[in-house]
Symmetry: C2
Subunit: 434 residues, 2 copies
């Protein structure tokens, strides 16, 4: 939007779909819903075949996609982007192959649509079944990774949903090229073109209109950093599937196997520090005998450690934690460490500071493990494993659309099942209600 | 609120919890959440026992409840209430027994908390389970039926949830008496008193504060008429479980058994006209031979029938339907009737006008039945049965908190399972992620 546009109120005759974001989103959503009702009638194999064709078309379109990506990367460099942000944006031949392979991987996942959840027969002879059906029209709002355009579209289509995609402005040309290839392959396979629509404007007001489109968009999934997710959660009138923070705890119980605890803590923090399942706070039981060695491993591995007073006494390299450290998702090689007195104390700390994503206990005491599993109220609760396993792929779900820490509909890693709802089918033989 | 209060801005020193609705709801919600975390630790039998005690206390408190109810009924009469509204409000000994029995019926339902949804073992040895857990804190907003105070509280407690109850002002004294009896019995059974709280003010702003309490209240269930549900759906920032309309269709296919079709149509419309599962629109296939007799039954039974041109030709008593008839939930002995040409035409009418609650086909043609079940996208789709079966009790779910037509979390009749979410339990033996 130029400054003139931003400061001049539109005249009534300008209120076309081109510049009224609500009207634009309304038109796209209605087209998407109409396409979805046709998509919903395709069989599982038909949808799978259409996704295979989309993958092929992505490979065939490598030249166009890379040319579009060069425009984005050049513009981003000119705008001063660098490092990780630029890396996320940049495509090459191998990454396009990765995008196409990911679409194929979704194509071969079992079709969730039509799966029976349960069946009951009533004394009056009515037979009730719940079967999975698509949700309808989803909105995906994401940032600079162009692969999301293909990943998210593939998951939505596999589950019979239409989707409105809103990518970051840095990736606008890449997203358009990937979208064009996807839609062309899908259309060849019989998926209506409007089932996968890319919002054609980078106007930020279009995002606001998506968030406000209750009744037109059934669910929104934000994929990106915390500020994006926070804005979506704060403003959306449409249900949102997301997690804001991954403040994951590992509690090393007094009955933990020391070697296992050291291995798990190191992996949970340092395998990859930038993922939402990375440990951010370590809780060491005061009775655990090997705390100094465990923290020493992390410090030696290049991790900055901030501790409470008792933790600081374990190693002189530990700095003092401030109160906000306990509520911080670092996403880098920084860790907060507290010494706690027993399981109740650990659970209280987790209840006060966890973001409800993934929390772990390390212990050889089966009763303590079961108590922790029962009492900690997070989307994922683990015993004797690294929190970095918190991932749809690692859970055997295939690709995930995201990890949810809300309490309704779907929780933890959300894959195809979370992109469906159900309906009740009732088969009778003329029953009337007395 | 008196007129003076309503028109005078509060001075800063007045902004206590007593007159700041957001602060009031915040305080109640925090107390409720704290109570819920203790309630969640009770076993299934402990919760069941506490509900039995609550039922006993309701019976023992009959005198107090009836005395409170007389105050409400007298005030309502003075305010000019009459008929159905006054009847809903009025309690007697039999109705109190009914309320107590309903609480006992919930007590004996299977505990959903802790139920395993599924279990998988990964190649690396991690064992994953999904188990049902309480949602947290629910809000129930209802109108003049005082029995909801006990019904809704019992369902919430059975599923381990805390609840904020906001009843209608007509029933304020009755609700307080019922609430006091419930809480006293529950507390004797070890359920924290704050697990079931009645909003202590009838200020309408308290409802607004509940609807805005995202992050404090996990889900709101409105129980009442369309204007209440519409307001809740329009204003809530908290997820809402509800249905606005029950515009239920019965499609009599050309291959319907005539006697069965007549019986089902009559029951679907006239058994009880005021429930959400009552038929509001009848679609008669142009090839169905017995349409005149079927509509004649309904007319003879006292039903007003409004039809399109072809339907009007069936019986001279049928008046002309207006376009809005197809989108109207009458909830009385009025029916709209259209003649349609085949299943696709019927499905199109349903897609355009159904509220997504319950839609029915009557047919002896199995292929047509399966096509209808597959294509109609309503919460409940029936073959050869009366739509009046759309009810949690009839579905074998025990008591229901309501029927939902939204697409996420729970759909159709919502009972205990819909008042839970799940978490992932992961049991390992020291696995770290490669």
């Amino acid at each position: 939007m130029t400054k003139t546009e931003a400061t001049t109120a539109p005249r009534p005759e300008d209120r076309s779909a081109d510049n009224d974001p609500a009207e634009l989103i309304g038109n796209l959503a209605r087209a998407g819903r109409a396409a979805q009702s046709r998509l919903a009638r395709l069989s599982g194999p038909e949808k799978a075949h259409a996704l295979q064709l989309a993958a092929s078309r992505l490979r065939e379109s490598e030249e166009e996609i890379l040319a579009a990506n060069v425009r984005d990367v050049d513009a981003a460099r000119e705008a001063g982007l660098s490092g990780a942000l630029l890396d996320r944006l940049t495509l090459d031949s191998a990454r396009i192959e990765g995008i196409a392979s990911a679409v194929e991987a979704v194509a071969v996942l079992p079709d969730p649509v039509g799966q029976k959840i349960d069946r009951t027969e009533r004394p009056n002879g009515l037979v009730l079944e719940r079967v999975r059906v698509p949700i309808g029209l989803l909105g995906i709002i994401y940032e600079s990774r162009p692969n999301v355009t293909a990943d998210a579209a593939a998951l939505c289509v596999r589950a019979g949903n239409a989707v409105l995609l809103r990518g970051g402005s840095e990736a606008v040309h890449s997203n358009r090229a990937i979208h064009a290839a996807m839609v062309s392959g899908l259309a060849e396979g019989g998926v209506p073109a409007d089932a996968v629509q890319l919002i054609p404007t980078q106007d930020r007001a279009a995002v606001g209109a998506m968030l406000a489109a209750a009744g037109l968009i059934d669910m929104i999934v934000p994929r990106g950093g915390k500020s994006l997710v926070a804005r979506v959660q704060a403003d959306a009138r449409v249900p949102v599937l997301a997690h804001l923070d991954g403040i994951c705890h590992t509690y090393v119980h007094n009955a933990a196997d020391p070697a296992m605890a050291r291995k798990i803590a190191y992996n949970a923090k340092l395998r990859r520090t930038g993922i939402c399942g990375a440990m951010e706070t370590l809780l060491l039981d005061a009775q655990f005998p090997d705390s100094a060695a465990l923290v020493g491993d992390l410090l030696d591995g290049g991790c900055e450690v901030r501790g409470d007073a008792r933790a600081q006494s374990l190693d002189s390299r530990i700095t003092a934690a401030s109160p906000q450290d306990w509520d911080t998702e670092y996403l880098e090689a920084v860790l907060s460490v507290a010494v706690v007195d027993g399981l109740d104390n650990a659970v209280d700390h987790i209840a006060a500071h966890s973001s409800g994503h993934t929390d772990v206990i390390v212990t050889e005491d089966a009763a303590a493990a079961e108590e922790f599993l029962a009492v900690v109220d997070s989307a994922i609760v683990m015993v004797n494993a690294s929190s970095q396993f918190a991932d749809g792929g690692e859970f055997g779900l295939g690709a995930e659309i995201g990890i949810a820490t809300g309490r309704l509909h779907a929780r933890g890693p959300v894959a195809l099942e979370g992109l469906t709802t159900y309906k009740w089918l009732v088969r009778g033989g003329g029953q009337i209600r007395p």
